[in-house]
């Protein structure tokens, strides 16, 4: 029989049950081990924290996330614990400090139960590029859960935790959320501090929550978000978590349907679900508006130039000289670098470092990096134009439902195209949420994506709530 942890609202009201809930959670994770969602458990830490939170509430402390048990992707730092990034090069590395987002969640009473599997350095769309072996889709073990934050998506989808943190650089939270049938929110760039998130594409990365519903995703966002003095790119946008949580949508919205997102390459069942949702929202009183986002077509290409360029620099620090994996047979400095990096990074990471190094090289910079920056501005311009006409945009999250393990691993281009609908939001820095909205004929979840203007995170989650309601989830 599958173990179930009590809902966090229950634990919030009965904090004395928290220590036993942590044990249940640990047993559930143990039972679900074959899914390979977790790579490191923080069992003792979680036990201590559970007692601490239970006691603190006894003293009347205000802990808005009391009772929420969370999983954290293993590319987000927690002091004294693993920060492997699913890479051989950081296999035994332990962080010296804790990410701001995690510290804020813990301060609010959340309990971190463990670190989850991912594509190495968050590079991948299937959670297969990892030294820990692939994570499996909870509904069909032959299939991938999506990536790169696959472990966190599965932990939530399998009911092992209440919520989880991932990171979304080009869709790494929304795509696995869609595949696994949970909510995945990519916040506005700058809304959540990146301090403690191992950088992949710094101008695109955001720490992002998975939850079973939009209400919980909102709670996690509010608590972990806001200005952080350790991250200059974090926004001074006011953040507070209202006690009543996410309010229902009060007004009628104009909802944009971008025609380019519903053309060829999209699995028919997904297109159908998007249109169903659109009709449902229309019935609920909102207006549907067809819009055009022509430059989104170029987003994947632009994304793979900019993200890899930044990654080639961000990953330069893993050189075997100071920490992490070092090839000990190497004698010269040059050999330490080349052998440690060749042996320490997996194939996909090496491919992206080479791609990124190439696009930044003298003579190619203008043709690739600079041009990509220009197109990035055009992609943003499309959205700004659109948000003059509509309040939010409804689109598919992924072109297909979960694919089979091994299906795309040798075809990087096909793999990269899994991000076709998600990369535009990262390039534009706007918030986007994937909400489960149906299933295909194989009973695999389908997610729809809602995108909004900068700092409209709350609004798109409110729309997400409406979609949940349409499908009788609440």
């Amino acid at each position: 029989m599958t173990l179930k942890i009590p809902p966090h609202q229950h634990l919030k009201n009965h904090p004395e049950e928290l220590p036993s809930a942590v044990e249940t959670c640990l047993q559930a994770i143990e039972q679900a081990k074959p899914l390979n969602a977790f790579v490191h458990l923080l069992a003792d830490r979680a036990r201590h924290k559970a007692v601490e939170v239970a006691q603190a509430t006894g003293q009347g402390e205000e802990l808005p996330l009391r009772g929420m048990i969370l999983a954290v992707k293993d590319n987000i730092a927690i002091e004294g614990t693993s920060l492997s990034c699913a890479s051989r090069i950081l296999k035994d590395f332990k962080s010296l400090f804790t990410a701001t987002a995690v510290a804020r969640l813990e301060k609010a009473g959340a309990i971190i139960i463990g670190k989850t599997n991912l594509d190495e350095f968050a590079m991948g769309s299937s959670c297969e590029n990892t030294i820990f072996g692939p994570t499996h889709h909870p509904l069909d073990w032959e299939r991938v859960p999506g990536g790169s934050s696959g472990g966190s998506a599965v932990a939530v989808a399998a009911g092992l935790v209440h919520a989880a943190l991932g990171s979304d650089t080009g869709g790494s939270v929304r795509q696995p959320a869609a595949f696994c049938g949970v909510v995945g929110l990519k916040p506005t760039y700058g809304r959540v501090s990146r301090y403690g998130l191992v950088a992949f594409g710094s101008s695109l990365d955001q720490i992002a929550p998975f939850a079973t519903n939009c209400q919980d995703a909102f709670a996690v966002l509010c608590i972990m978000g806001g200005k952080d003095e350790h991250d200059s790119t974090s926004a001074a946008y006011p953040m507070s978590y209202p006690t009543e949580g996410l309010k229902p949508l009060g007004e009628k919205l104009r909802i944009g349907l971008p025609k380019e997102y519903l053309e060829e390459g999209l699995q028919a069942e997904i297109a159908e679900v998007v249109l169903q949702v659109a009709r449902g929202l229309e019935k609920a009183g909102h207006d549907l508006v067809e819009i055009s986002l022509p430059y989104s077509k170029l987003a994947v290409g632009v994304y793979y130039i900019l993200a890899t360029a930044e990654a080639s620099s961000n990953l330069a620090r893993y050189d075997g000289a100071r920490y992490g994996f070092r090839e000990h047979s190497a004698e010269s400095l040059q050999d330490i670098y080349t052998h440690s990096r060749a042996g320490g990074f997996g194939r996909e990471v090496r491919r992206r470092i080479m791609l990124g190094t190439y696009v930044l090289s003298a003579g190619y910079y203008d043709a690739y990096y600079k041009k990509a920056q220009r197109v990035r501005r055009l992609v943003l311009g499309d959205f700004l134009d659109a948000f003059g006409k509509v309040d939010v945009i409804l689109a598919p999250t992924t072109p297909t439902t979960a694919f089979k393990i091994g299906e795309k691993i040798d075809d990087p281009l096909a793999m990269y195209l899994s991000d076709v609908y998600t990369t535009p939001a990262n390039l534009a820095g706007i918030p986007a949420v994937s909400v489960p909205a149906g299933k295909d004929t194989k009973r695999l979840p389908i997610g729809v994506q809602i995108m909004g203007p900068h700092f409209s995170d709350e609004l798109i989650l409110q729309v997400g709530c409406d979609i949940e309601r349409l499908h009788g989830r609440i």
Binding site: L83, S232, T233, E310, S312, S313, R317, Y365
Partner: protein, 475 residues
């Protein structure tokens, strides 16, 4: 150089004297035990982010304004990518195509002629750690220097002799110390200089191919390295060879410049905008405030010394050589009420003592009021000038007050005419033949009699009184 002309441009790195490092809160301090002034941020650990220290901007702004540069209201940081063990992130945060400031100039005076050296740009960056190569071939690294804020001051290739390069560096050094933005210590590496140099035949329009010379640890070293490299290039050209673009490392002990090994120099730094930092924005009010609060610059101060105190330009230049010295002089001029004498004291004895003791004016042990007091003793003829100088030396040696030295060590000068006359008569009696020679016309013997009288009174006779008495006795 004969029929050749050299073209020299310098890149000077100055470590700014901020409390904390450029992008983290570690102390910015020299000389701590290795790897003790570090944190995850300056060690480039996974997940860290840099946060700009505003004090770095403020100090850079002072320097930029002092050389008359245009500070850009907006500039950005870039990443300069290369691998080296003392570069923990694998890139240096620097500024590439949108520097902090552009333009400006440094005025030089070399061998009597004046020259203006244009500054191309000043940009901000972080320092790397320090690699120390060991005798056994291994390399150890000290990360304390990682993230120390730097400005790089890039000159136009406006210098044509090693002496001009030296003068330029002296001027930069004086300026950064004057502004309190860098201690200018080349031995400790807080001020560093790389040079680009080429030679061409006089009258030729086209410049030669430039080489880069690095690793010079003193201003003298820069001058010598440039002289060496210019001579080498002329030799190559004279011998029919061609100069190749390369980087040379100056060996201070051997006094030669050796080509850098190929591997150590990277050609392509793959610069791109630093995504972890926001644009550097300098609000105009801020620039105005710093401009308003900027201290009087050396040149202006030198001119004012000439006009206000009637000093010779050469003297004023010496006094304005360092801000602390100029401040000391001005305080002394006010306290003593005699700017010219104050100038003589500072230019002569104070600077001599500083040089002998190898210390700077901040640690000069004699206060302005004590020195003014000493000057007053000379003025009132209680001390002779030479006696006062001896008292000053004793003050430095013993740390005691001038009064106690004058009283206890018998430096006080006597103007008692009877006492001096007694000694003068003894001297004239002691040298009868000289007296005869003097009276028969050898008037330059007068100084001899004064000297002997002074000697006999151990320098305590007032020389003016002694002269008058001798004059009377000899007539």
């Amino acid at each position: 150089m004969g029929e050749y002309e050299a073209v020299i441009g310098l890149e000077v790195h100055a470590q700014l004297m901020t409390e904390t490092k450029a992008f983290c809160t570690c102390p910015n301090r020299y000389g701590a035990p290795p790897n003790t002034l570090v944190c995850p941020v300056c060690l480039g650990m996974p997940g860290i982010l840099p946060v700009l220290n505003r004090a770095m901007l403020e100090q850079a702004m002072k320097l930029a304004l002092a050389v008359g540069a245009t500070v850009h209201p907006r500039s950005k940081f870039d990443r300069k990518n290369y691998f080296y063990p003392d570069l923990p992130k694998g890139y240096q945060i620097s500024q590439y195509d949108e520097p902090f400031s552009t333009g400006g100039s440094i005025e030089l005076k070399v061998d009597g002629h004046r020259k203006s050296i244009r500054i191309r740009r000043i940009h901000l960056e972080e320092d790397a750690g320090k690699s120390m190569h060991q005798a056994d071939g291994s390399t150890i690294v000290d990360m304390n220097r990682c993230g120390v804020p730097l400005v790089e001051i890039v000159s136009e290739p406006d210098m044509s002799t090693p002496a001009e390069a030296r003068a330029y560096l002296n001027e930069i050094r004086r300026l950064v110390r004057w502004l309190d933005v860098c201690d200018g210590n080349m031995e400790e590496g807080s001020l560093r200089c790389d040079a680009n140099v080429s030679v061409h035949r006089k009258g030729s329009e086209a410049f030669g191919i430039a080489t880069e010379v690095k690793n010079m640890n003193s201003i003298r070293g820069v001058e010598r390295a440039l002289a060496y490299e210019i001579e080498r290039q002329i030799g190559v050209v004279e011998g029919g060879g061609t100069i190749t673009r390369q980087t040379l490392l100056w060996d201070e002990t051997e006094e030669i410049a050796r080509p850098m090994r190929r591997k150590e120099s990277s050609d392509d730094y793959r610069y791109f905008p630093e995504p972890d930092l926001v644009e550097v924005v300098v609000p105009s009010e801020w620039a105005e405030r710093i401009s308003r609060d900027l201290v009087e610059l050396p040149r202006a101060r030198c001119m004012r010394f000439c006009q206000e105190y009637g000093l010779a330009e050469a003297t004023a230049e010496v006094l304005a050589g360092e801000r602390g010295v100029a401040d000391y002089f001005e305080a002394l001029a006010k306290e003593s009420g005699d700017p010219r004498r104050a100038a003589n004291w500072v230019q002569g004895d104070v600077l001599r003592i500083l040089k002998e003791r190898n210390c700077d004016i901040a640690s000069f042990p004699v206060s302005v009021s004590d020195l003014a007091g000493l000057m007053n003793e000379v003025e009132t003829a209680r001390l002779s000038l030479s006696g006062a100088k001896k008292v000053l030396d004793r003050m430095i040696e013993t740390g005691r007050s001038p009064e106690s030295i004058i009283e206890q060590e018998g430096f006080a000068q006597t103007s008692d005419a009877r006492e001096i006359e007694e000694v003068a008569r003894e001297i004239l009696a002691k040298f009868p033949s000289e007296v005869i020679k003097y009276k028969s016309g050898k008037k330059n013997l007068f100084g001899f009699f004064v000297g002997e009288t002074m000697k006999a009174t151990k320098g305590q006779a007032n020389p003016k009184v002694a002269s008058e008495i001798l004059q009377r006795l000899l007539s």
